[in-house]
Subunit: 392 residues, 2 copies
């Protein structure tokens, strides 16, 4: 780190996660190379150097360390960086993450509770599970994020509707009380820090808003222990995010992990002493990790499928304690993450009131694109949940 | 602001203040053009477009709004932007700032207490002041910042040593108990927010460290009122910083103002709900202003004259609650601001202990360049001051 030029980090993927990594990392004197097929991708636009697919060797050679912001991107470039000894986190978590069956088996091996599951090689095997359990969640083995590759089955015969090839993963349908997530940062020398857990609310399988700290202390403690165990087991280096379902009967079930910075950790940009992005960079560059202390109750709302023209910037920034992250993507599509807004407050109750204001500012008029993204029903239900929980 | 492309801001000057403005402003979807003679200047390196001296008209044409990060830079470009109706803050505060006599007279006009002063047209007039007051501070009328253009005179005959041409400003030498500064943001529509004041410690005329919030509530209240009055008087748009000397006998004396973001507001990047950089941008773009609430007691230490090779990054980041801003300047020179570190803490006492650790991490070994920058005596005196105030 003591070279005159400062460290160079290569990022596989040029989306908003890489973009925030660059914005947070410049302060530390880090230079960034970004590999993405789209030269106009958010992180590619502000990188010191942009690389195209097929230039994995050039990226690995230019970089001191290579990391990834999207687990389904650029497998070949990741392998080249691993072979050069520069990929952090390494290939192991990436491979476990790319196949949902391996991911579930890893939870089981480590004694981390997770929803019951089995692989199914045919519609008949899915139907068997469905008829015995009464319901099932079917997941494609690869390529899943933001609710993609997931189907909820409630009726006999539903297995016929699955659009992917077999085998698939079939899981019990958990009666979910809440979803929480834990973010761990771990450096090469084994230093570990854990962020306060976030409470997450999805609509249509996509994160709509999240709140830190999560309220359920007992569930958070179990989840945090499990997340640290998972990180250690993979000799993990960087930021690791783990999502948990808390069932109606109080089980804390690991749902999935992401070997990268994560949407449910964006609150740390506003409300933590050090952001997840900075700690990811510190970890992969083997710098001392920063404090994960929460400074104020903090929430974020994702801005889904809204174009800059439609964005009510004034309304968003008028909410007390609110700030905006606009990713600068060229085109809004239904469900696409275009930006997020955060808000801080003096108490959990005040936070939930302000989040409700923020939701109303962003989605209140239900512009057609936003309603298409999230579903007006899901929005109304989440806004009324915020109202109830703020008043509770 | 509702155009697809997002607003464009032009910045006169490419130093670290512009650099932090760009880093903070990208999130809001703002594009930046930077005008600086040095294409490798911190803000020029990360701008969307770099402009050279003489290209003031091109910058004004490209930008929706033009601002400045250094009041002594690019007078012609500022005038062009003003003529185009795009300069915020406008020329008026810039002109008042560029001449210390106008600056002092503005304080007097507004009834804001300031140290006694008079213009002096010759060494004889300075000697007269000196012999009647026993001591004097002599200041060049223009070009002053970071202690440049200031001489403290204590002995008859000292006036002969002044290296600038006449006239000069001659002031009473205040017996200073402390220095505090107040940052105000004011938007075109007249919305105003005031940051908690910072307590500042200089060495060799250059800010060494500052702490927010300042302890002296009575002085802070008087200073905040005066800063708001100054901003209103100039119909100011943007962030305005005002420095005050609190004298041993309790007078709160406006010392100078800066019509821009300011080193003593850097704490807001770490410890405020919204940074001074974001609020400056919101103000000049007439967006709603962000909360200036302080989330935690916060301090910063300037990194003066230390090259990247010498920078003890690990020691700095090992201080609990610490973060680093490294400006990426090509060359370290004595007294040059190369970066800063911030630290947050749970209480004022803990903050002062952590600041002492941070000072020791940065300057503890007194590398030759740092000692040349600040003076070993001044460093030792400030470190022992922190020790005393932490234990108090």
């Amino acid at each position: 780190m003591a070279r005159e030029r400062g460290p160079r980090v290569g990022i596989l993927g040029g989306g908003q996660l890489g973009w925030m990594m660059v914005l947070e990392g410049r302060r530390l004197g880090i230079s960034f190379g970004v590999l993405d097929p789209d030269a106009g991708a958010p992180a590619a636009r502000i990188a010191d150097r942009a690389f195209r697919p097929g230039e994995g060797a050039e990226l690995a050679s230019w970089s001191d360390v290579v990391t990834y912001e999207f687990e389904n991107a650029e497998a070949e470039a990741a392998e080249i960086a691993e072979a050069a000894g520069k990929l952090r986190p390494g290939l192991r978590p990436l491979l476990a993450k790319r196949n949902r069956l391996l991911e579930k088996r890893l939870f089981v091996e480590l004694g981390i509770p997770t929803a019951d599951f089995r692989p199914a090689g045919s519609p008949r095997e899915v139907e068997e599970f469905l008829s015995s359990a009464g319901s099932a969640v079917v997941k494609a083995l690869g390529g899943g994020y933001d609710g993609k590759g997931v189907r909820f089955l409630r009726n006999p015969g539903d297995a016929a509707s699955i659009p992917w090839g077999y085998p698939v993963l079939v899981e019990e349908m958990v009666d979910v009380r809440e979803e929480i997530s834990v973010i761990v940062a771990r450096s090469k020398s084994g230093e570990e820090v854990v962020y306060p857990a976030a409470e997450n609310h999805n609509a249509g399988g996509i994160l709509l808003y999240s709140i830190a700290p999560a309220r359920d202390a007992e569930a958070v403690e179990a989840a945090s222990r499990a997340a640290v165990r998972l990180a250690r087991s993979m000799d993990y280096v960087g930021v690791l995010a783990v999502e948990f379902l808390v069932s109606a009967d109080g089980r804390v079930l690991a749902n999935e992990f992401a070997p990268r910075v994560h949407n449910t950790g964006h609150w740390s940009l506003c409300g933590a002493a050090t952001s997840q992005f900075e700690n990811h960079l510190r970890a992969i560059l083997d710098m001392p990790l920063g404090s994960t202390e929460i400074l104020r109750p903090t929430g974020i709302v994702n801005i889904l499928g809204i174009s800059r023209d439609e964005l009510p910037v004034r309304d968003i920034l008028s909410v007390p304690g609110a700030r905006l992250w606009w990713y600068g993507k060229a085109e809004a599509r239904p469900g696409r993450k275009m930006g997020h807004a955060c808000v801080v407050a003096g108490s959990d109750e005040e936070l939930r009131r302000r989040l409700r204001e923020l939701m109303a500012a962003i989605y209140g008029d239900f512009p057609p694109s936003a309603a298409a993204s999230v579903g007006a029903g899901a929005l109304e239900s989440e806004i009324s949940h915020l109202s109830r929980s703020a008043d509770a």
